[in-house]
């Protein structure tokens, strides 16, 4: 509608220090918001990564049990045969999964020990960093966080409750509950669960639906609950992440406010400093909408610049921090980038509000004051 002389761009570029402060502030705010969301996503994914990695359609657990962290599931081994005899069931494998507290370098470390069937390899590590993915008797696969924090390597011994295992592999783990893997026999012996299993994982015969087979299992086998893999994974995420989400959202909101305040302050001071020039434009006949556009464009440029650098910094910074701190597990999703882009637009509009109010109050008659 108007000409191509961008007063907003010219004003911003003639004040590089102000532009730098503004863009840096927004970059920080965007980085903070995206990293927090990426951490939330990363932790959520890590919490359910193991469940999804197990080749199973259905997880069967003690009635009333819901996940691997906040409830105990103890099932007699004999139930495995009952489940196997249920119509539509193809395979059934037991999984032992219990948390233990180890003392490493004088520090208490919580880890979840998974005992899995090393013949079928159902329930083994989701991702290996190095070493063997299939432990033999007396061997253990440890988590990368335990490996890095306590300098334990392949070939080193590791003592758990007076039993010593040899480390044969290092698995990619989770930030909240590191997992170690051993044979099922070793796990049963460690936890004294010779006749007990924590979970049964089930695959179904073709031609059956998961829901139907789940109902049959719950009808045929007393004292158990069955969940689809997705349900079980979601429950494992939910129990933890529901407690984190409000905190994450508060921190994201703080990041948003930081962005609004920084853009608003820099654009406001720029507006005040240029009050006379805005008065001149008003006097010569520039309509208010043109002046509003100048301020909004300035706010938009600072916001867009900060957003672009913030996104790049999130990707680069997350990788760098992960190298230093393995607990810093992030997953940047395009949905979060879109959401933060939307928040940046709101940030730009809110930040322009106070400068716009100042602009409205500028009296064009100011031009006649020497």
């Amino acid at each position: 509608m108007f000409g191509r002389i961008s007063l907003a761009r010219k004003n911003l570029l003639h004040e590089p220090a102000r532009l730098l402060i503004s863009v840096s502030g927004v970059t920080f705010a965007i980085f903070l918001m995206l990293v927090l969301l990426a951490l939330y996503r990363g932790w959520s994914e890590t919490l359910s990564k193991y469940v999804y990695s197990v080749d199973a359609d259905i997880w069967v657990m003690q009635q009333g049990s819901i996940d691997m962290s906040h409830s105990i599931s103890l099932l007699p081994n004999a139930l495995g045969d009952q489940i196997r005899s249920t119509s539509g069931v193809k395979t059934v494998y037991p999984i032992i999964g219990n948390r233990v507290i180890l003392t490493l370098d004088g520090e208490d470390v919580t880890t979840r020990i998974i005992g899995f069937d090393t013949v079928s390899n159902i329930g083994g590590p989701a991702d290996m960093i190095e070493g063997s993915a299939v432990p033999a008797a007396g061997e253990i696969i440890i988590d990368e966080i335990v490996h890095k924090d306590h300098h334990l390597n392949i070939g080193d011994p590791m003592t758990i409750q007076d039993k010593t295992f040899t480390i044969v592999g290092i698995a990619s783990g989770g930030p909240l509950f590191q997992q170690s893997y051993m044979t099922q026999a070793d796990a049963r012996a460690l936890f004294h669960l010779e006749d007990i299993t924590n979970f049964f994982v089930v695959t179904i015969e073709p031609g059956n639906t998961i829901d139907t087979v789940m109902s049959r299992i719950e009808d045929n086998v007393s004292g158990v609950d069955a969940q689809t893999t997705k349900e079980f994974a979601t429950h494992n995420e939910k129990e933890i992440m529901d407690k984190f989400l409000p905190i994450i959202l508060v921190l994201v909101f703080i990041g948003f406010l930081v962005g609004v305040v920084i853009i608003s302050l820099t654009i406001y001071t720029a507006t005040v400093e240029k009050a006379r020039e805005y008065g001149v434009l008003k006097a010569v006949g520039a309509p208010n909408r043109y002046l509003y556009r100048v301020v909004l464009t300035q706010s938009g440029m600072a916001g867009a610049g900060g957003f672009a650098i913030g996104v790049i910094l999130t990707y680069v910074g997350s990788d760098v921090i992960k190298q230093i701190e393995p607990l810093f597990v992030t997953l940047v999703k395009w949905q979060d980038i879109v959401a933060v882009a939307g928040m940046t637009v709101v940030m730009i509009i809110l930040a322009a509000y106070i400068p716009l109010r100042r602009l409205m109050k500028i009296d064009p008659a100011i031009v006649f004051k020497a």
């Binding site: 108007f2 000409g3 191509r4 002389i5 007063l7 010219k10 004003n11 003639h14 006379r276 020039e277 001149v280 434009l281 008003k282 006097a283 010569v284 006949g285 520039a286 309509p287 208010n288 043109y290 009296d363 064009p364 008659a365 031009v367 006649f368 020497a370």
Partner: protein, 275 residues
């Protein structure tokens, strides 16, 4: 043809006892191609009058017609458009935008009025060339002299070919030579291009190019300043006051005494009573 037609114009600031009539029942006309110089002491209402003529201030009473458009009747939202098309402003402190080049300062006004950027650029270049700034088109104001900046401001004022130019102390910040150059520019704008120019200034030199001088004092227009011989001495403070326009007077024993202020008048009355 009257380009400016002002009738019974009044602008009152404040209310009650603090009420001040900055412009008080002013009427005058200015024709096409005429240069009118408005002079008067500080605080006399010159700038208020210019601000009213520019549609930057709302009149308390009266009418202001610019090129047959009554500024006192149009909606406030329409005033920027009228200023853009009908009036060119030139200011004492130039008021060019510091982050735009000379060319951009002029071009932007054309773009604001809806001209295509290329056309606006061409016209701005033409105007600045006409004002001998063709070597300074891409200079920022900080690299231009005061006279050059004022010529940029004049080019900006002419961008949309307004019929009326309003200039506030246009030579006030210029050296003698630049001041004369600017005066000649105004003279040419009126006499060659047929534009109407109203200048508010203390600069006596501008009288040389003006067709008429309007003297404004206490918000009222006079055709000339009071003659020196009609001043009298305030008997209390000793200041010279205008015999005709002195605001306070008292007659004692058939003699009329004039005072500069109410305070002097009251002190005089008190002294007279104590005698």
């Amino acid at each position: 043809m009257h380009i400016v037609n002002v009738t019974h114009l009044k602008k009152i600031f404040g209310s009650g006892a603090a009420q001040v009539a900055a412009v008080n029942d002013v009427s005058f006309t200015v024709d096409q191609g005429e240069i009118v110089l408005i002079m008067g002491p500080s605080g006399s209402g010159k700038t208020t009058l210019l601000t009213l003529l520019g549609g930057l201030l709302t009149a308390t009473a009266g009418t202001i017609q610019i090129n047959s458009i009554d500024l006192t009747q149009v909606k406030k939202q329409a005033l920027p458009g009228i200023r853009l098309q009908e009036i060119g402003f030139v200011f004492q402190s130039f008021n060019v935008l510091q982050n735009l080049t000379a060319l951009e300062n002029v071009q932007i006004v054309g773009e604001l009025s809806g001209m295509k950027p290329v056309a606006a650029r061409q016209r701005a270049t033409h105007l600045l060339t006409k004002l001998h700034l063709e070597q300074r088109l891409h200079y920022l104001p900080s690299k231009l002299s005061g006279g050059q900046q004022q010529r940029v401001a004049i080019a900006r004022a002419l961008m949309n070919e307004p019929k009326l130019i309003l200039a506030d102390e246009p030579t006030g910040n210029l050296d003698s030579r630049s001041g004369h150059e600017v005066m000649m520019l105004f003279h040419n704008l009126a006499k060659q291009d047929g534009r109407t120019v109203i200048i508010v200034s203390h600069d006596e030199r501008i009288k040389d190019i003006a067709d008429r001088v309007l003297w404004i004092e206490d918000g009222q227009i006079h055709t000339a300043p009071p003659e020196p011989e009609v001043t009298v001495v305030d008997p209390v403070c000793g200041m010279k006051v205008d015999a005709k326009y002195a605001p306070f007077s008292t007659t004692v024993a058939g003699i009329v005494y004039k005072f500069c202020s109410e305070d002097c008048q009251q002190r005089f009355t008190q002294l007279d009573k104590n005698k």
